[in-house]
């Protein structure tokens, strides 16, 4: 008996909600707004963020890596028409990437920590830089 009452109450609430929803829907659909009250909003389109023209990314080496080989290979990608200059504590070298923008070169590391800076330069003069710290050590700890 008690259970039946609960079920009936639940069904009644559902029917009530349905009727109220329908009434609200019909009220909204019949409502009209006069043209004098209408405002046309012309939202300005957002200014797109300018993409950086020159870029450089490195596949290897990772930053702060410790290696046990004095010969370090640098592999990366930049704009195809860019010039890359690689600066170390003892030298600077200039290379040019392939037609796809890929580049690869080798360096001889000094003992301990080596700071390597790379600069990519477009023919128009735009530049971007990147740096890596690579440590040469054979010490085991």
């Amino acid at each position: 008996m008690k259970q039946e009452r609960v079920i009936l109450a639940f069904i009644a609430v559902l029917i009530g909600l349905l009727v109220a929803g329908l009434a609200f829907y019909f009220y909204q659909s019949t409502k009209t707004i006069s043209s004098s009250n209408q405002i046309i909003l012309n939202a300005p389109s957002p200014t797109p963020t300018p993409k950086p023209i020159v870029y450089i990314s490195l596949n290897t080496p990772d930053d702060e890596i410790v290696v046990d080989n004095k010969t370090l290979t640098i592999i990366g990608k930049t704009n195809p028409n860019a010039t890359i200059i690689i600066y170390t504590s003892s030298d600077q070298e200039a290379i040019q990437p392939s037609a796809q923008g890929d580049f690869s070169t080798t360096l001889t590391l000094d003992d301990g920590e080596n700071l390597i800076k790379l600069m990519s330069i477009l023919p128009t003069g735009e530049t971007t830089t990147m740096q890596r710290t690579v440590t040469y050590s054979t010490e085991d700890f």
């Binding site: 890596i65 700071l115 330069i121 710290t133 010490e139």
Partner: protein, 242 residues
């Protein structure tokens, strides 16, 4: 009816829990469990710590810790213990007490990914990284073997060409030996060298690469002179002029 259902559910759950609980562990099981835990702990520890080498400028130091600013501008904390070895090319007895603010150190040690601290095993004083100047040749002084370079920020640097200066030109993707006489105004050049001790506005070039294919087109007329470096006390250093 509801009470009956709840009672039944409680009884079923209690029985299930009893069945799932393990029997009293034997000595072998306890040992296996202990070993498993130790292996898991060691694996986690190994994954958490890795060898790393960093470079930074000292901002603070104490007997057990050094604070550095790395080339990316991040603050790095270095822990020092009795196993940490110190070295310097100019001071054979270099130790933690000799570490002063502004010194560039190279640190090799164990980096903890969780605490983001490095436990130093080797600390050495780094040699000064050469000054890099990239810009356009604004003026060539053939009498004093000097080249004035205008940089992207408008600053000017005078490059002193020494006997030891190596000059190259990047032609068709390869570096070709070049010289002072082949330099021309408006050419882009990359210079590495060290500041002249007598005139900090001048750079003694160790290597120059001329980049004829790059057109920088900096405005040579609006270039401002390079600002003299600060001494840190607010006083600027200027060369003595007679």
């Amino acid at each position: 009816m509801l009470i009956l259902f709840l009672t039944l559910a409680t009884l079923v759950l209690a029985h299930g829990a009893q069945a799932a609980s393990p029997a009293t562990p034997t000595a072998d099981q306890a040992l296996l469990e202990k070993l498993g835990n130790e292996i898991a702990s060691k694996t986690a520890q190994l994954n958490l710590v890795e060898k790393r080498g960093i470079v930074g400028v000292v901002t603070d130091s104490s007997s057990a810790q050094i604070t550095l600013t790395d080339p990316n501008g991040n603050t790095r904390f270095v822990d020092v213990d009795e196993l940490t070895k110190f070295s310097s090319s100019t001071n054979s007895s270099f130790g933690i007490s000799d570490v002063t603010k502004g010194t560039t150190l190279g640190v090799l040690g164990l980096y903890n990914k969780q605490s983001r601290r490095i436990l130093a095993r080797d600390i050495d004083v780094m040699d000064t990284f050469p000054t890099i100047v990239f810009g356009e040749i604004a003026d060539i002084d053939k009498t004093n073997y000097e080249v004035t370079v205008i940089k992207g920020n408008g600053g000017k640097t005078v490059i002193e060409i020494e006997d030891i200066t190596k000059t190259y030109s990047l032609t068709a993707g390869t570096l070709v030996k070049s010289g002072f006489s082949k330099m021309q105004t408006t050419q882009a050049i990359s210079v590495t060298g060290f500041p002249d001790k007598q005139d900090p506005n001048k750079l003694m070039a160790s290597k120059i690469i001329i980049l004829p294919d790059i057109q920088l087109s900096y405005d040579l007329n609006t270039a401002s002179p390079t600002i003299a470096p600060s001494t840190g006390s607010g006083v600027k250093l200027y060369p003595i002029t007679k």
